[in-house]
């Protein structure tokens, strides 16, 4: 009880608290009331329109090569089903009826961080809890869709992912908005727990409407021998997106890798960071970002901090400016002990004309050559990702590429 009072107090205090980064948002202009939707018996009950919108963010209503699905439309969890033993998928409001969730709920993220975390606590709609049980190998990805359909809604979500000891779990989350949504706000708190010798890959694909404001708040922890791959793709126009996911490596040999692919279109502001704290021996971290500004603003932040000799961490940000626009790369390394091995490289520029001419001399037109180079720029090899999931990310990138570039 004391704990709940404490969170309520923090949420009250942070109600008006501006975030450290990103433009400030007047939360009162977005409605928190959504229509209460009935759960679906199966994904075949989705409308054709909803199916095709979800597919754009990698969520396949046929559930082929999926281990399970969670679908949330506006404020309602309409589907949560696991297709595998050793895998649990449930709406967080269901999970909160059980005691075990208290070990995880708001244990990493801070209710009082800013007005968005406060709102996710006070006006929680739903969200998913996905857990692989000890030793389970969930090789096909679990798909989750956070679908904003109602115009001017503030969708407030809290997600928890737990990869238990010695388990393997892959999650692909597609965040999309309906075709008629003009404006909206998505607030999403996510907490990731990668336990001893577990492997978790989390891939988030954003496919929002042009007028959307998006404020994800993610925190993760990786125990001994654990691996956490965190991939993020945002290539569609969005009004303002700000996030700075953080992960702590607390057990010996834990590894985290963050990859992000960002495109900033005219009128879009993307402020995307990644922070990994290496707090245990033999831990390793890598943050890799590829950003294209196609006339919009992209801020790519990265922060690595290590306080144990022998840790290894690398940060890489490459930015490409295509049609004017603005890219700010802020790589930060913080070594707090002798014997840390930390490096970064950041490069921002335009496409090398020599590369275009080289491809043209092999027969491509200037536009084809440019598209080929951009495609290559956005194609990052992610070690440790199952080929099937890699193909899905590639397909999502290719489709968005085709649509918007």
């Amino acid at each position: 009880m004391h704990d709940i009072d404490e969170k309520t107090r923090k949420a009250q205090e942070a109600k008006e608290k501006k975030a450290a980064y990103g433009r400030d948002i007047d939360l009162d202009t977005y409605c928190v009331e959504g229509e209460c939707l009935e759960p679906l018996a199966g994904l075949d009950q989705l409308t054709q329109e909803d199916r095709s919108i979800m597919l754009k963010a990698g969520v396949d209503a046929t559930e082929q090569d999926r281990s399970g699905s969670y679908i949330q439309k506006d404020t309602s969890a309409i589907y949560a089903t696991s297709l595998m033993d050793g895998l649990e998928i449930l709406p967080i409001k269901e999970a909160l009826k059980h005691d075990w969730i208290n070990e995880y709920y708001w244990k990493l993220a801070d209710v009082g961080q800013d007005k968005y975390t406060a709102r996710a606590y006070t006006d929680l709609h739903n969200g998913y809890v996905i857990r692989s049980l000890p030793g389970a190998r969930v090789t096909f990805p679990v798909q989750a869709c956070l679908y904003l359909h109602q115009d001017a809604l503030s969708q407030n979500v809290h997600n928890i992912i737990i990869a238990s000891e010695d388990s393997e779990l892959h999650v692909i989350t597609g965040c999309v908005s309906g075709s008629h949504v003009i404006k909206g706000l998505h607030v999403g708190v996510s907490e990731f727990f990668v336990k001893k010798n577990a492997k978790l890959s989390f891939t988030m694909i954003h496919h929002w409407a042009q007028g959307m404001l998006v404020r994800p708040r993610s925190v993760g922890v990786v125990e001994e021998g654990g691996l956490f791959l965190n991939n993020y793709v945002s290539m569609k126009p969005v009004k303002s997106l700000q996030m700075y996911p953080a992960t702590r490596l607390i057990g010996k040999g834990a590894v985290a890798r963050f990859y992000s692919l960002l495109v900033g279109h005219p009128g879009s502001e993307l402020d995307v960071g990644g922070r990994i704290l290496l707090n245990a021996p033999e831990t390793r971290a890598e943050i890799i970002a590829r950003a294209i500004s196609n006339g919009g603003t992209v801020i790519s932040r990265g922060h690595l901090a290590g306080d144990i000799p022998g840790i290894k961490a690398h940060l890489e940000c490459r930015g490409l400016i295509l049609n004017g626009g603005d890219i700010l790369a802020i790589p930060e390394l913080h070594g707090k002990a002798e014997g840390v091995d930390m490096s970064h490289e950041a490069a921002v520029g335009k496409i090398n004309q020599d590369e275009i001419l080289y491809l043209m001399s092999r027969g491509l037109s200037e536009d084809e050559a440019t598209a080929t180079i951009v495609r290559g720029f956005m194609s990052v090899d992610i070690p440790g990702l199952p080929p099937d999931l890699k193909n899905q990310i590639d397909a999502a990138v290719a489709q968005t590429n085709q649509e918007v570039m």
């Binding site: 090398n352 020599d354 590369e355 001419l357 080289y358 491809l359 043209m360 001399s361 092999r362 027969g363 491509l364 037109s365 200037e366 050559a369 080929t372 180079i373 495609r375 290559g376 720029f377 956005m378 194609s379 990052v380």
Partner: protein, 252 residues
């Protein structure tokens, strides 16, 4: 046929070519000699259409078409191709995909082409990323094999190649230029191959390439003009013996 008339070219504010005349007829292979900085690479880049090489006078005619101001990809489409000395690295583009780009809509077996120049293991690597000097040359040849141009421009195709691979590269170039049988002199070979159409212009410093590719003519470029023309073997021997001085005197 390629015909270059009175070609003057500037790079930035420097005049690099000062009136070059050159003609390569169908089926002919020419060697381009010249000291460092004489304008050899600039001539090839100008022929391929690189816009930073600004043509200020003269013209380039290929297959009867004035291509002096034609964009690079249209020249490629017309049948010109180039093997670069230092091509750029393209991250995220697999060598395999570049070979397919070169093949265009021609049906080419990428694997079998790659095995001919020992590039099989490189197909799934990013193009030119971390390639050694010799690997770059083999990658360039592989691309030209898929592209199959009629006029081939080679910028020092054997530089940085180890002795073991020289024969491989030499023979691959001879194949590309339809000169794969050995033992005949240039002119006799032409009579023996009336159907031969491929044209070549090769920059070489070492001259090794002459052991594999019988060439019809040699040209010496010096300070932006063609200073000497003649039998490529004789020119090479002269240069090897007494440097470029004799060639220049030949001009005056």
């Amino acid at each position: 046929m390629l015909r270059i008339e009175g070609l003057q070219v500037r790079l930035g504010d420097r005049e690099i070519l000062k009136g070059v005349d050159l003609e390569i007829r169908e089926g002919e292979v020419h060697i381009l000699f010249g000291p460092n900085g004489s304008g050899k690479t600039s001539l090839l880049m100008t022929l391929m259409g690189y816009p930073q090489y600004r043509v200020t006078a003269g013209k380039i005619v290929f297959k009867g078409i004035d291509i002096t101001h034609m964009p690079v990809h249209e020249r490629a489409g017309l049948g010109m191709g180039m093997s670069y000395q230092r091509p750029p690295t393209i991250h995220g583009l697999k060598t395999r995909d570049m070979v397919s780009i070169c093949a265009g809509n021609r049906d080419q077996d990428v694997e079998s082409l790659a095995s001919q120049v020992n590039m099989g293991d490189f197909l799934d690597r990013d193009l030119n990323a971390g390639f050694s000097g010799g690997e770059i040359k083999r990658s360039e040849l592989l691309q030209l094999m898929a592209q199959n141009p009629e006029l081939l421009l080679f910028d020092e195709p054997e530089s940085g190649v180890d002795m073991e691979n020289i024969a491989l590269i030499g023979n691959a170039i001879a194949d590309l230029l339809e000169r794969n049988s050995t033992g005949l002199s240039g002119s006799c070979r032409k009579k023996a191959h009336p159907g031969r159409r491929k044209m070549g212009l090769i920059i070489t410093h070492t001259g090794y390439i002459l052991n594999y590719v019988p060439a019809d003519r040699g040209q010496v470029l010096f300070d932006g003009v063609i200073a000497c023309r003649g039998n490529p073997q004789e020119i090479f021997q002269t240069i090897s013996r007494s440097g470029y001085q004799e060639c220049i005197e030949c001009m005056t």
